[in-house]
């Protein structure tokens, strides 16, 4: 998920204000959370009156890929102090991870790895906060008839479609979407949590089923 940070930040700012968030709050959120898709999920859930724990669980799920990034980068940064690693952790997004994990194995042992990560992360953070702020200011000027709250589901659609590249991923998306839709009436946005977990399980099951069939055909 390599998103152009500029337009994505702008749209996030506009849609946050469209969903009823105070312009300052969305800028604060961009500065502290610095993870676009999870911010949009939280914005949409806050607007629908979800429980705090349901919002946090959703944020944790959307950002789960960072655990994978953290694992991959960890061996390269062991010689640095905790504060340096905390800074790299805070600034790590899809794009900065992708370039760092390509760079470190090619560079020498004395390469300034933290400086490299921070040199990419800080401009990305500044861009993200600035474009969200610009979007929030713009969004506050736009009339309510423009229905900018529709921007949030649109963005998730735009993230969802390219993420579905294989049949097991399609199974995961269909099961999660259908169940979340069927359970939309449940309190605390439980439908989202249950739907997501069921979708993940269905995707994993579909994949292991396909792998087993593949082995049988191969044998």
């Amino acid at each position: 998920m390599l998103l152009g940070a500029g337009p994505f930040g702008l749209i996030t700012g506009v849609s946050a204000v469209g969903a009823g968030m105070h312009p300052f709050d969305i800028v604060l959120m961009s500065g502290l959370v610095f993870a676009g898709a999870s911010q949009l999920a939280a914005i949409s859930l806050m607007a629908s009156g979800a429980a705090v724990w349901a919002i946090l669980l959703t944020v944790a799920m959307v950002n789960l890929r960072h655990v994978m990034y953290s694992l991959a980068l960890a061996p390269w940064l062991q010689r640095y102090g905790v504060l340096s690693r905390l800074l790299v952790s805070f600034l790590m997004v899809d794009h900065s991870f992708a370039v760092a994990i390509l760079k470190y194995p090619r560079a020498g042992d004395d390469y300034p790895r933290v400086a490299y990560a921070v040199g990419i992360g800080v401009p990305m953070w500044l861009t993200w906060v600035a474009t969200t702020a610009a979007g929030a200011v713009l969004g506050a000027q736009l009339p309510a008839e423009w229905q900018l709250d529709f921007a949030v589901p649109l963005l998730f659609l735009a993230l969802l479609v390219p993420a579905v590249t294989t049949r097991p991923l399609l199974v995961a998306a269909v099961v999660a979407g259908a169940l979340a839709l069927a359970l939309a009436g449940l309190p605390y946005n439980l439908g989202l949590v249950v739907g997501s977990l069921a979708g993940i399980a269905a995707g994993a099951a579909s994949e292991s089923l396909t792998a087993r069939q593949g082995r049988r055909v191969g044998a």
């Binding site: 337009p7 994505f8 749209i11 105070h22 709050d25 959120m29 502290l32 959370v33 993870a35 898709a37 999920a41 939280a42 806050m46 705090v52 946090l56 944020v59 799920m61 959307v62 950002n63 890929r65 960072h66 655990v67 994978m68 990034y69 953290s70 694992l71 061996p75 940064l77 690693r85 790299v88 952790s89 805070f90 229905q147 529709f150 921007a151 649109l154 963005l155 998730f156 659609l157 735009a158 993230l159 969802l160 479609v161 993420a163 097991p168 991923l169 995961a172 999660a176 979407g177 169940l179 979340a180 839709l181 439908g191 739907g195 997501s196 979708g199 399980a201 995707g203 994993a204 994949e207």
Partner: protein
């Protein structure tokens, strides 16, 4: 949700996200990823995004085109654009403009 509640969500969401980013970076660097996480991680974006997008796209807006809600139609058009172009900005623009045009044509 009141503004202090929003701030609480922001601070806690920031801590959750930092905990995930730092999960292995702040440790000793030799811990293996639990196998169950490895198997399921790649399904998370597709499942979570679908579970967020579908109920939100099908929420009635009050403007209907025949039996179909304008938001659902605009969402379907945007879905085709997302599928053909994989461009986030274009999907957003086409979806919003479709919704406005449908509202203007019907309303």
């Amino acid at each position: 949700m009141s503004r202090p509640e929003v701030w609480l969500v922001i601070v806690l969401a920031a801590l959750v996200t930092l905990a995930e980013r730092g999960s292995f970076l702040l440790g000793k660097g030799d811990a293996p990823l639990p196998p169950v996480l490895k198997r399921t991680l790649k399904f998370v974006p597709a499942a979570v995004f679908a579970a967020i997008a579908l109920p939100a796209l099908t929420q009635p807006s009050g403007v209907a085109v025949g039996p179909v809600d304008a938001r659902l139609l605009a969402g379907a058009v945007a879905g085709v654009v997302a599928w053909r172009t994989r461009n986030v900005t274009l999907t957003f623009v086409v979806g919003m403009v479709s919704l406005w045009l449908l509202g203007w044509a019907v309303g």
